[in-house]
Amino acid sequence: MSEGTKARPAWEVGDELEERVLPPVTRLQLIKYAGASGDFNPIHTIDEAAEEAGLPGVIAHGMLTLATMGLLFSPHLEHGYVKELKARFSGMVFLGDELIIGGRVANTEDAEDGRLYTFEMYASKGESTVASGKVGFLVYED
């Protein structure tokens, strides 16, 4: 096995993914994400635009927070893929915020080409949740 290769995952309901603590959000990161995603809504990069929209400062793209939920499944991509992802944004993420991402298995079921694991996911800062939702990860059969 090459370095970083992981065994085929077989989760049970209730299993938790290892939490990830992300580095503090920076403006440069938001600028990079704006460029890479094509989402140039200025409330994510320009203070004045954020203030005009009634916000205390620029906020991170919700899709960037969601992308970091996908990050937790990155080590398992050799055996499957994220088939479903859904989330509701419930709090804003500002510059300097440190997000914690985690999830636990809520359901497992047989699917046409493997086994589908459904995770309840969260992204939080301190005690407050900024996004919560579900990820369906499909693990292919051998």
Binding site: A36, G38, T68, L85, F89, Y140
Partner: protein, 151 residues
């Protein structure tokens, strides 16, 4: 509000190609440099048979304009996102025919005033018309933005 009249309207499909460089820039921005996104050799040997794109990548595509609709980008807040893939992840090189439908517009009272909720569905299909993914996004029109729009 200028949104109700667009409910049910669709854009013309636009072709997008999943480009290797675009995926690389995207995964750098989200901090997920998995070899299956960027390393062609590693990806070829994997169960995916080639480079793939991360699950949130379809938001980078063009979906065409719904006629007459000027999307007031500034000040719109993203409320919800859903994406589901039909049978496989997106692969680098995929040609994806994308279009959008204005699904619904609702309003609700909040502490800060009246909020507008716009739901857009977005679809990606392969060259043969087979569905690759379905996406749904809820955008919130804030009271501050509403003032700007109505001015």
């Amino acid at each position: 509000m200028p949104f109700e009249r667009f409910v049910g309207h669709r854009s013309e499909a636009v072709v997008n190609v999943v480009e290797k460089g675009a995926v690389r820039k995207f995964v750098e921005a989200i901090g997920d440099p998995n070899p299956l996104y960027v390393d062609e050799e590693a990806a070829k040997r994997s169960c995916h048979g080639g480079l793939i794109a991360p699950p949130t990548f379809p938001r980078t595509f063009e979906y065409g304009k719904i006629e007459g609709m000027d999307w007031p980008e500034a000040g719109m807040i993203h409320g919800e996102h859903r994406v589901s893939y039909e049978s496989r992840p997106l692969r680098v090189g995929d040609e994806v025919y994308c279009y959008t439908e204005f699904k619904s517009y609702d309003e609700k009272e909040s502490r800060g005033g009246l909020l507008g909720l716009v739901v857009l569905e977005r679809f990606g299909e392969g060259p043969g018309g087979e569905r690759l993914f379905t996406m749904s996004d809820t955008a919130i029109v804030t009271p501050a933005l509403r003032k700007t729009l109505e001015a």
